[in-house]
Symmetry: C2
């Protein structure tokens, strides 16, 4: 059984564009990637060591003037590892929405509790959607750029699904209000 850590692929993917430190990777993940994947120092740093031992990445710059700083770059074998993963059509896609869980079990509480939970969700989505639209507008201008195109497609996925979420929120709130309140 080969290595299964998905964070490895995130790291290799990021390094396929430019050399980065672990800290930088975390920032990239917290930027655009966070909408569909996650990462933490707790798995980035251990993974960096393993990938280095594997020969998938190498240190390309180390500054030890006071604060330690280690930049990594991807190797040829690392790039092949990344490509192999991309060509593997298997992919786990899963949602983990506590809001829906609360909705599903909402029957033991009053309707306004569920109603409120939906509103909180709605506001969060509204904010994120605005952000995604801003990203999208910038990227749209240069889709000829390969990287922009791929980036744009993920942003566009977010926009489309968040818009669907908001429509659903309105519908759900209406359905909840249609019944006798409390």
């Amino acid at each position: 059984m080969p290595r299964e850590k998905k964070i490895d692929m995130v790291i290799l993917g990021l390094l396929s564009h430019e050399p980065l430190t672990g800290y930088d990777m975390k920032k990239r993940i917290d930027g655009a990637i966070r909408f569909f994947w996650n990462g933490s120092f707790g798995n980035i740093y251990p993974s960096l060591k393993e990938l280095e031992n594997n020969g998938s990445i190498t240190r390309c710059e180390v500054t030890s003037d006071g604060r330690e700083k280690i930049s990594y770059k991807i190797t040829a074998s690392g790039k092949e590892e990344l490509r192999k993963w991309l060509r593997d059509e298997q992919a786990s896609n899963e949602l983990k929405y506590e809001t829906l869980l609360k909705l599903f079990f909402g029957g033991v509480e009053e309707k306004n509790v569920t109603y409120h939970n939906i509103e909180v969700f709605e506001n969060k989505i509204r904010g994120d959607l605005e952000m995604l639209r801003t990203y999208g507008k910038v990227l749209e201008k240069d889709l000829e750029n390969e990287d922009h195109l791929h980036y744009y497609l993920t942003v566009s996925f977010g926009i489309d699904s968040y818009e669907a979420y908001l429509k659903w929120c309105a519908k759900a709130k209406k359905l909840l209000n249609g019944r006798a309140q409390r």
Copy 2:
């Protein structure tokens, strides 16, 4: 800091409807809940023991004729624990879509690889959407039933977002094909 295990809430939520064994719970989760939450024997059984020690649930039927079988029911304090969680507006909602990750880093491979990955995703969604629509049609007939209403809302969320996914798939494939193939 109180207990944070979300599986506890799934168990309490399920038991708020009817007594169940751990095995039954897993089946329920694999049915409708799997679209927005997950659970495994690996966290169900340990959680059952802890919830029993807490007094949140009690055994209500144990058969030891050969095969052991333990049914649990929720207690008053367990129900209050569930309600408290429902009233807490904090909720973590996160997507973990490997397909989008592969799309994001797809630039290092040929376009048809990304195209194929989207098609695999599309087919999976199409199948799940059909299933959700079947669920939805049954539930729609009796939304006066409180439990059906909550169940229906989660199914409806799935339908709406999956429809948005499919539209996005078509758009994404077109955009990828618009560029020079390979």
